[in-house]
Structures are given as C-alpha cells and as structure tokens.
C-alpha cells in the first residue's frame, strides 16, 4: 500500500517552477503532473480549454494498463510512453516511481527536445518528491482531519 499523498505549499511552488521551466525549455503546450492514483498535482501552460481532471485520471489509467502489460512480459514498468497525433503529441514518463509527468507538444517542438528536457526535469522532480515523502513520514505531520466531527461530515451532505 502506498503512503498517504500530501502536498505542501513549499513543495508545490518548487514543483510548479520546475514544470513552468520545462514548458518553456521544451517549447511545450502543456505540462502536468499526476499521481499514480489519478489525482492531478500540478499543471502549467495552455490549460484553459483542457479538462485536466479527466486527463489526470486517464493518464493514470494508461500508466496502470501499460504497467500491467510490462509485468506480463517480465518488465518492471515502461517508464516512457509516447503518443503521436496529427497535431499534438503526448510524452508520458514516470518520475521517482510514484508520479507521472505528462508533456503535450506540437510541431513547434520535437520528441528529441522533449525527451532531453524531461530527463533533467524528472531528476529535479524526483528529488522534490523524495523530500516530500520524508516530510510526510516524519512524526508530528498530523492531518487537518484528525479533529473533524460527525457534524462536519453530516454538513457536507445537507442539501
């Protein structure tokens, strides 16, 4: 079972910076980061007309399905996936074994450039997530939900 996923302000800012730089340096349209359970962590670039929640869930489903395929042929996982479209392309990588980095790019960029920039960004993100995990596992990192009451929960459903 995975540990609880938690995101703090500091790490979120660091992650967003890395994603923004990657968007610029790879001449990408959109960069987003998803956890393996399909929750969106961060997104940068031209996300206005994009359903990022659906993208996150389908990306995680895609990674899960290809991971299943990998295991069937004796591989641990396929860490890079590439989908080529008529206009836009998707480059998907697993970072730090835990999160998924997705880059959407068109003909203004190239697969080679994206791969190069993703490698560097992936290493940085991996380090941030390692630190985050240590922080979450550290004692005293209490959840804000430890003190919620039955009333709080009931109120959510009062119509």
């Amino acid at each position: 079972m995975n540990a609880q996923m938690v995101m703090y302000e500091d790490e979120f800012n660091q992650i967003t910076q890395v994603c923004e730089r990657l968007t610029r340096e790879a001449s990408a349209k959109v960069v987003f980061l998803v956890d393996k359970n399909g929750q969106l962590i961060a997104s940068c670039g031209q996300t206005e007309n994009l359903d990022t929640t659906s993208l996150a869930s389908l990306t995680a489903g895609n990674i899960a399905a290809t991971g299943g395929l990998a295991k069937l042929i004796g591989e641990k996982e396929f860490s890079i996936l590439f989908h080529e479209g008529e206009r836009d392309n998707l480059h998907i990588t697993i970072v730090g074994g835990r999160v998924i980095l997705v880059v959407i790019f068109d003909s203004r960029s190239s697969l080679g450039l994206v791969r190069l920039r993703v490698k560097k960004a992936g290493e940085e993100l991996g380090r941030i997530f390692d630190g985050l995990l240590k922080k979450v596992e550290a004692p005293g990192a209490g959840s804000p939900f430890a003190e919620i009451t039955d009333e709080d929960i009931d109120n959510l459903f009062s119509e």
Binding site: M1, G38, D51, A64, D152, I153, N155, L156
Partner: protein, 195 residues
C-alpha cells in the same frame, strides 16, 4: 489513498464501485452525474465497448462543500464487471479509499454476486488491503424486478460484516445517493482515524 493538498487546500478520495457484470455500477454513476449540479461535477468518462459494456472503467469527479477549510473531492470509478476483465479490475482498485459492492438482486445472478464478492476480497488482498478494514458499503440493486432474492438472504451471503447496506433501483435513483453518502462518510471518518 486520499490526497491532501495543502497548497490548493483540497482533499481527494477515490471510491470504487465493484460488482458482477450488468449489476448496475455504471447506472449508479450515470444517475449521480444526471442529478448533480454542473458546478459540483466534472465530465463523466466511460471507457466502454461498442455494446456499452464497461471495458476499463467509468470515471466521475465530484466536489462537495468545504470541510475545515478544505474542498472535498470524490473520484468515483467503476470496474468492468465481466469475469475476464480481472487484470483491469485489479488496476482500478489501486489507491482506493472506499468500496461500494453493487449486488444484482435477481435469483439467477446470485452465483455471479458471490463470485464477484470473492474476487473483490482477493484483489484487495493483493493490493495489501483487508476488506474488513476498508470503508465498505453494500447495495442490493434491481429491487423493482419480480424475481429477486429476499434481502435477508443477500445479507447472509454478502454482508456478514454488517456494513451499511441499501436497497436500490439505480435507473430511477432509489438508494443511489444513500449509498454514495454512506461510503463518503465512512471514507472521511477513516481519514480522521488515520490523521
């Protein structure tokens, strides 16, 4: 596993609807989608075959009110019910926070219910979860049909744990929101325990 985001002040939880083929998992989600305010729901995604059988999963993101300053989001998933899609079902259970078992109340589907229930327990165990400890709710669906098994009998077969249970007619919405609320409540209560 739930995802607590202090930066955007959001908490997201994953709920999976499980059950035998054609028991009404997708219908549950479709009803919830149809009856939820547009601002509280995202797009519903169904990865289905040409004959509308679930191939991989259905996905429906919902957002509820705030709790202690955190926006609560629930991501609802269904699994493909047909027996031979077991590999896909295992994948969808990853990171689950709460499970709804949708039983088909018809007499001729009793065996399929039992098989799917066993399959749920096995697949959860493979991911390191114990069904007795996961937030879990049972729904007896299709109660409007003439050839249904009495609820007592269904309970003895599928709910020996005594978890919250609801009778339902998913296409008309009977029991659908009761089931969802019950599992969401259990998930949030669990979050308090682990927090």
């Amino acid at each position: 596993m739930s995802f607590i985001n202090y930066s955007s002040r959001e908490i997201s939880c994953k709920i999976v609807y499980y059950g035998p083929g054609l028991c009404g998992k997708t219908t549950n989600l479709q009803y919830i989608y149809a009856k939820t305010n547009p601002e509280a729901k995202g797009k519903m995604i169904s990865l289905a075959t040409e004959t509308d059988r679930t191939l991989f999963f259905d996905f429906l993101p919902l957002s509820l009110a705030e709790i202690r300053g955190f926006k609560t989001r629930f991501h609802l998933y269904t699994v493909p019910g047909q027996v031979f899609y077991d590999a896909s079902r295992k994948l969808i259970l990853k990171g689950v926070d709460g499970v709804v078992f949708v039983a088909d109340s018809q007499i001729e589907r009793m065996e399929a219910n039992l098989e799917s229930f066993d399959n749920l327990r096995t697949n959860l165990a493979e991911q390191g979860y114990d069904l007795a400890k996961v937030p879990f709710v049972v729904q007896y669906n299709k109660r409007d049909l003439p050839n249904v098994v009495p609820v007592d009998e269904l309970r003895r077969a599928l709910n020996i744990q005594g978890v919250p249970e609801y009778q339902a007619v998913a296409p008309t919405g009977v029991g659908v929101f009761d089931t969802l609320k019950a599992v969401a409540k259990l998930v949030l209560t669990e979050l308090r325990k682990t927090g």
